[in-house]
Symmetry: C2
Subunit: 396 residues, 2 copies
């Protein structure tokens, strides 16, 4: 019997390697105890939200009758929330934004899918520097879009601008940039970004259907060693930025994000109207109101980033101690480390034998590497040292 479509059946069957590791981790924790398993597989922020989150939510509860009860929320978001987020993004992106430029969305993922629905025709292509967050393929695939990964440059995984330019065809509709990057932690330089923008500008000179830059920025706040993540909106008038408060406020469950387009993009009002429409007809309807109001209250704060900085130091100590090759990442909370053997599944297995969980690089479109998420307590990270060492020794 064909209860679901063949395409979805296939996805269900293959599953996600990240999720598979998560399930494996649950089993191991049950068997050996929570503190005996070192789970670097899932990017799940465990740092508490800013202290202000609790009183802010209590205030929302106290005023509950209106926001709860008198219900109509415009599809693009509560007007005063859009204004607040526009102010926040104006500072962050170093460009003047108004409430009308911003759409509140069901997380960053909701923003991407609504955008793709508005601009993607069957057969359109979406370029992404590789390795990359695999869900992008599903996001554009819903509407017949095809993801075209373009390998980034080793060893530090900065985008290969020439290769990106060469990969553009008449059907390329968007280039996704994700900096700080999942899974590499790479922060793209202003120089590389401007080079990509120049390519896009040139392409759009003769284009009826413009090529967009889509900047996916859930990790913007997560930059270390004084590195600045360049504002992406001003680099090109063809840029759309989307992000979420899941990581910066440790609110991954409430699904609160935003979409914003460069206000000087030609016909930007049509794009904003279209994404507002697809946001409605895809069933998002509007971003959840408690999350909207909470984000408006505390968007200028972030979780304590020094915690992540210490964890990064612990993680790099552990990897160096085991002789694992990697480039120290400047952002996000991931390290994309080189496997000692070309088939990284063997390395993943060897680590698993030590109760250490990582995700194989091929889950991000790049074999020969593994992704480690260090959003874990420093103590646990440091305790994993012998596991990494033993796994490496098995390849000596």
């Amino acid at each position: 019997m064909q209860i679901v479509t063949k395409e979805i059946q296939k996805s269900v069957g293959s599953g996600s390697m990240i999720r598979a590791m998560f399930t494996k981790g649950m089993e191991l924790k049950k068997k050996f105890g929570e503190d005996k398993v070192f789970d670097f597989s899932i990017g799940n922020p465990d740092v508490p939200p800013p202290a202000s989150a609790k009183p802010a939510l209590e205030k929302i509860a106290a005023n509950a009758i209106r926001p709860l009860g008198v219900g109509y929320c415009p599809n693009a978001g509560i007007p005063e929330v859009r204004e607040k987020i526009a102010e926040f993004l104006s500072r962050q992106q170093e460009i003047g934004l108004k409430g009308k430029d911003v759409i509140m969305t069901v997380g960053a993922a909701g923003a991407i899918v609504a955008f793709f629905r508005a601009v993607i025709d069957k057969g359109d292509e979406v370029i992404v520097p590789s390795p990359y967050f695999v869900e992008y393929g599903a996001y554009c695939g819903h509407f017949g879009g095809v993801l075209k990964p373009v390998p980034s440059l080793e060893p530090d995984f900065r985008p290969d601008v020439d290769a990106i330019a060469a990969a553009i065809t008449d059907r390329t509709r968007a280039i996704i940039l994700n900096s700080p990057n999942n899974p590499t932690g790479c922060v793209y330089s202003e120089r590389d970004l401007k080079a990509i923008a120049a390519v896009v500008d040139k392409v759009n000179e003769t284009r009826e259907r413009p090529l967009f830059i889509l900047s996916d920025e859930p990790y913007r706040a997560f930059a270390y060693d004084g590195v600045k993540v360049p504002p992406m909106l001003p680099i090109s008038k063809w840029t759309c930025v989307l992000g979420s408060f899941s990581k910066t406020l440790s609110l991954p469950g409430e699904r609160i994000g935003y979409f914003v387009a460069n206000p000087s993009m030609p016909e930007v009002d049509t794009l904003i109207t279209a994404v507002t429409l697809t946001n409605r007809t895809l069933g998002f309807v509007n971003a959840p109101v408690f999350g909207q109001r909470l984000a408006a209250e505390i968007c200028n704060e972030t979780v304590d980033l020094s915690i992540y900085e210490r964890r990064r130091a612990a993680m790099t100590d552990v990897l160096k101690g085991a002789g694992i090759e990697f480039v120290e990442p400047k952002g996000a909370f991931y390290i994309f480390a080189k496997s000692p053997v070309e088939d990284e599944l063997k390395f993943v297995e060897a680590l698993l034998a030590q109760n250490v969980l990582v995700v194989p690089g091929r889950a991000f479109g790049r074999s020969g590497y593994v992704r480690l998420c260090y959003a874990l307590e420093e103590k646990i990270i440091r305790s994993s040292a012998s596991g990494f060492r033993k796994a490496m020794e098995s390849f000596a």
Copy 2:
């Protein structure tokens, strides 16, 4: 320039007639004052949520560190919330349900779109009794599905079972039932529902790809005069039910709903896994956690339905006084009233001249009628009497 796709451009251009009336209403209110405009155009619950909503949300805020901070929420929902909602739905649907049968979704709309993504192939057909909620067309259209409206029986708009049976082809993948109905307020009888179920059972005897019944139930609690809305899940093993707490708890902005399939459906686990997957890859990821926890706390309550009952009485008084034909609806908060002229746009215009806003029936696929939403203060409803009378007189 083609900034968005031609298909979306067309939708943006045509807009929604309901939204257009909403905008018109805003203009009129600005011009004449809030209390001089009678806006029956939008189904926006204005009754306060149950009194328990506020302390429940305060409790969630007080425990905020864990639900806010320790973030990972499984895509199908928080396990203990799924259990609670399964208990609630077991009583409501008169069938035994477990947490694993339920997926928490971003409202009812999110549930429908995730379901369609899981089962619809390009060219599949979806039957809906007409008049109907127009967004259904967009929901299945995202994935190449085609909506096939089947006219319901006048004057009371009960479904035409024979016509539904006759409309089924090899490509029919689902029949959407929406009872209590938007826009007619009709509550489908158990007899009609069982007749539809028998048709579906017969079709599925020889089907490789089953035909589903999709019961969209946001108005289930809104039934009057002691009428019972029959539980839909037990009527057929091929039934999926989805609903939301937007109306029953007056929480329209938080986007909290659910999807549940009859546990005795063949291969039901594959369906649940697939809808959980599409819920993730469509960018919903998971239902918002504050809404999930709030629903789990207060799902057994409802807003004060006697308010809606009094409003219905006021609305029917007004319509009778103006000599407008209609069948008194037993559910939801809408009346689908006959236009005195075949072209109901003329009636809409005449009402507009009296500052009375209604939606033309063609926005729901049935000309010659108008939809009135009586989710308005009783006083406002009663004050609209002379407007309705004068509009009717202009056609005398």
